[in-house]
Amino acid sequence: MGIARVNARRSALGRMGHPSGKSRVTSTPGPLVEIGSLLGGLLAWELLGRVLGLSWLPPFSACVGALIDLINQGLILAQLADSVQALAIGFAAALLASFVIAFLMAEFELVDLAIGPYIYAFFLLPSIALVPVFLAVFGIGDLTRLAVIFVYCFFYMALNFHTAFLERDSALMEMAESFQASRWQRTRYVVVPMALPLVLATIRVGLSRAVKGMINGEQFIAIYGLGGLIETFGGEFAAVKVFAVILVVVALALVLDVLMRLLDARWTRWAAA
């Protein structure tokens, strides 16, 4: 889950991974149990939906059917594109800003002392609390959505990038110096590879936070994007359609997560346990 590695300032997030006891996991056919459990869950959903006939729990097949209908009507893809576009802009801005801030904090101690406590405080605070401010200042509009995406991931990434930039193995640096490595060479061969696993893990978790920010922001604004659709269908009490959009949201979150994991695995193979 990576958050264990992205362990900013004294385990602010606690343990989120599988830190130990991995050896115990190897002996059973894990994937089979997981797939079975997932299929069982879907089956239970389907059956409960059919048998109970509750308005808020339509069977899974009905939700998939609604999803196909919505896609055919062209509703889903247009809003998905809209959401992803906002996500890309908001996340890119946060990525750039957090990278620059973290770099300045790592290079200049005064910057670290002046804004470090605030970055940390806002990282600990739920970003949602800032939404009323955005709504007040930016109104019901695209800027609010972007601002929500930004704050959902900015503080987290800034804090972790800062940790990554400070993570310098002095023994390895000494080794590099003993081989008369230039400053550039030390950066290229020691500093960057050292920081890379944490940076990639941070980007992955940051992206997943940005997706949450995107959906939440859109739900507040309730006009466009997937979150807008959820609010619209929710207002119509159309549970099948709400679930259909949720399926898209989950798929988006999972696809981005898997993509980042693949990238991570490719670039930081040496760090794998």
């Binding site: 989120m16 130990s20 009323p132």
Partner: protein, 267 residues
């Protein structure tokens, strides 16, 4: 050797500056805050925008709602949602995490749902929750639970997993049964991680509470914010946010203190 030891030099410079005096810890953040406040004040005054209150207007609105008392009743209402949701979450999540940490099959079976709950946003479930139980207190409580449960589960599970298997074996060698094992080895070993999970969980519960307030607008802070926004009293909107930030900070530092108490004794 002109460019030697960048890291080392930086290291000494760092420690020199940091340890020089307590002033160095306090002055830069305060200076930064002052600069932000001045820019905010001048910028907002210059913008002539009723939506953007000045710094001083926000401060006086803050004093108004806190001393005038407009904030307390809604705040209490909202916090009730959070506390109920958090307590139910803990009651469900801690035992679940304990069982997952110990029993591989249950762990495996729950794994996909745990990952899903961590990765997916919880807010889209809100319309479904509303269809299920309406707009009342229980909707907020349920949303808080969706936010909270998984984080307590994951940390509790990790706590059990982090218990040294050699200690379990040792206890077995002295004839410990499953009950002894939980009492003397597993629970004490997992306690710090459970405390961490509860701290993070309470932070999540707060987030869930705020989200519920903003989207459900049923009562409490959400309704208060809506009222202020409708009246274009954005200085009061800002002040409510400041109250929320203060509360979150208090919760976070209080839980941290509690957590440190539960840490294992060290040298």
């Amino acid at each position: 050797m002109t460019q030697s030891g960048g890291a080392l030099e930086q290291g000494t410079r760092r420690s020199a500056l940091r340890s020089s005096s307590g002033l160095w810890r306090v002055a830069p953040p305060l200076a930064f805050l002052a600069i932000v406040a001045i820019i905010w004040q001048l910028g907002a005054a210059d913008a002539h925008n009723i939506l953007l209150p000045t710094f001083t207007a926000t401060v006086s609105a803050f004093v108004d709602i806190v001393v005038g008392g407009a904030i307390w009743e809604p705040l209490l209402r909202s916090n009730l949602t959070m506390i109920i949701g958090f307590v139910i979450s803990a009651v469900i999540a801690v035992p679940l995490g304990l069982v997952m940490g110990r029993h591989l099959f249950i762990d495996r079976a729950a794994a996909p749902y745990v990952s899903l709950l961590v990765v997916m946003p919880a807010a889209p479930l809100l319309p479904i929750i509303v269809m299920m139980i309406g707009f009342g207190l229980s909707a907020g409580v349920l949303l808080v639970m969706v936010f909270t449960v998984v984080y307590i589960v994951v940390n509790t599970r990790a706590g059990i997993r982090s218990v040294d298997p050699r200690l379990v074996e040792m206890a077995h060698s002295y004839g410990a049964n499953e009950l002894n094992l939980w009492r003397y080895v597993l629970i004490p070993g997992a306690l710090p991680a459970i405390a961490t999970g509860l701290r993070i969980g309470l932070g999540r519960a707060f987030a869930g509470m705020v989200l519920g307030e903003l989207l459900l607008l049923s009562s409490g802070i959400g309704l208060l914010l809506l009222t202020y926004r409708a009246a274009n009293a954005s200085d009061h909107v800002f002040a409510v946010v400041v109250v929320l930030l203060v509360e979150a900070t208090l919760i976070s530092s209080g839980m941290r203190r509690l957590e440190r108490r539960l840490q294992p004794p060290s040298v």
